[in-house]
Symmetry: C2
Subunit: 124 residues, 2 copies
Amino acid sequence: MGPIRSMLSKSDVTEQQWRVLRVVEEEGPIEPTRIADQACLLLPSLTRILQKLEEKQLIVRERDKVDRRKQVVQIAPAGAELIAANLAASVELMNGVRDRMGPDRYEALLDLLNELDGIDDSSR
Amino acid sequence: MGPIRSMLSKSDVTEQQWRVLRVVEEEGPIEPTRIADQACLLLPSLTRILQKLEEKQLIVRERDKVDRRKQVVQIAPAGAELIAANLAASVELMNGVRDRMGPDRYEALLDLLNELDGIDDSSR
DNA sequence: CCGCTTTGCTAAACATGTTAATTAAATTAC
DNA sequence: GTAATTTAATTAACATGTTTAGCAAAGCGG
């Protein structure tokens, strides 16, 4: 089990749940379509993950008052605590990967992946 | 749906099934642990994929005669035909991605991903 | 020769990715 | 004002990734 996954399993969240929580905590209140975009997830996958996070009482969902097609998602106190408890360690693990690879090469990898992503999109 | 996935769905195989078929066709007769290694798949995932390919009669599996823990996997005639029917088109699609990105950048991306993979392995 | 360890593969269970379809709500066009 | 279209989210179904556990077979050490 990877180091981040192992750390998160102690707080009973998966990597994808963590990524979604991070987006909600940093940019909330936020709508699901925007979370999906930010977290690079398809909506059906996100819906299921949000349902799990709601069940675990880490987020709160409510209907938008102006446009009732939409939802507003916010972090719950328990979710904020979980992030506070794990953020430093997860940043450190990511920094460890970046340092072992070398910051320049790490950035180059991210750039190339984004470029590939752009190629995928434009060929559809 | 991505171009390769779309093409393959006409032959009723998924991308992962295709990748496994390719390994079996190129390196068969071959054992599952080696397929898993070559195709970057975990064994339980591979076992299920092989079961599907066997069900579709695209491969044949039999017990190794010397070491009965092991299996030998071979391409079946229908599997060879499916590969023959799709190989040129899939290579062309991959070449299209490489050309749009530029061969140097494409190779750089593969190198950096392999390097990252090495970092993952050594930190466990 | 026997008990223990290792290896190869499978099964179960859960999470997530994906596609297609559906429902409800808003917008647009006439 | 109404019908058609678009948008936001969900559901269903299937495939696959992952972890854990289990079983059978082979290898190793004493």
